[in-house]
Assembly symmetry: C2
Homo-oligomer: 170 residues x 2
């Protein structure tokens, strides 16, 4: 409750970092913290290593690829076709792969909804911070672009999706 009221007052996407930090700290205690990034797995995977990889239960799905510390899974077909020359397009493609349009159209980065007069915060309005973190970190790595700009693209994507959803429902 204190977390919610604090968030209602001051949580903006940037200061949301505090929340993510808490999550990150929790995760860092877990044994799987030292995670293989998607591209590492891609590079290392050769026929001989595939045979051994059955020992972990994570590899059950070969059509998806895990990204980031939280192992958010992205369809391999999407991952392979990502265009890293444009961090905007890459981010948007990842968002489409990780979330459905309903989620993108109804949630946003901070969980803050703005209607006429005032903003309200609700956890249900927030995109899964772990998945967002995974996407941001991946794009940041591959495009070497400021994290803020990536989050801006995500916010934009949410706005665009909500907009088209609204238009369609007329």
């Amino acid at each position: 409750m204190s977390a919610i009221s604090r968030a209602t007052q001051t949580e903006s996407s940037d200061r949301l970092a505090a929340v993510q930090l808490r999550l990150e700290n929790l995760k860092s205690i877990l044994p799987q913290h030292d995670v293989a990034w998607a591209e590492c797995q891609e590079v290392q995977r050769s026929p001989t290593t595939i045979a051994k990889s059955g020992s972990t239960q994570i590899k059950r799905d070969r059509s998806t690829v895990p990204i980031g510390h939280y192992r958010t899974r992205v369809a391999r077909s999407v991952y392979k076709n990502l265009n890293w020359d444009s961090y905007s397009l890459a981010t948007r493609a990842l968002l489409d792969a990780v979330f459905d349009k309903e989620t993108l159209g109804t949630k946003n980065l901070s969980g803050i909804k703005i209607d006429s007069k005032g903003r309200q915060w609700s956890a249900t309005n927030m995109l899964d911070p772990q998945k967002i973190s995974d996407i941001v970190q991946l794009v940041k790595r591959n495009c070497k672009v400021d994290e803020r700009r990536i989050r801006k693209i995500i916010a934009h994507k949410c706005g665009d999706t909500a907009s088209t959803k609204r238009i369609k429902s007329l």
Copy 2:
């Protein structure tokens, strides 16, 4: 008229570059095109050169410094105190020095005004493109930051000024 109608349709701040290009082309024909930047003049000015500088009529005012291709003049006191570590603050300070609050609060970069339903373009709504160009080029030079971001700050400054003006008038 065709220029206006074209602008009404498609002129965004970025495509405003076309307009500025025309202006720039005109100016480039003039003899003063090869302009000394403010910092160059600052560096070169020694007691001996000051004595000679009376030959040009531009130097009449020693309390201001010219910046950019269009020799927009900025108060020397402001120029000396610019903080180039923050392109945002530097840009805002320059705007305050070049324009008055009334201008900043009523005009914007593109000349497009948006009220409920539709946008309208008018040259009188546009900040002097030459002065804007001077500021942008100067900040770009000293902060090595993308021109778009500088223009974004300018747009923001206009928005902020208009906002406070509106609140004050209540």
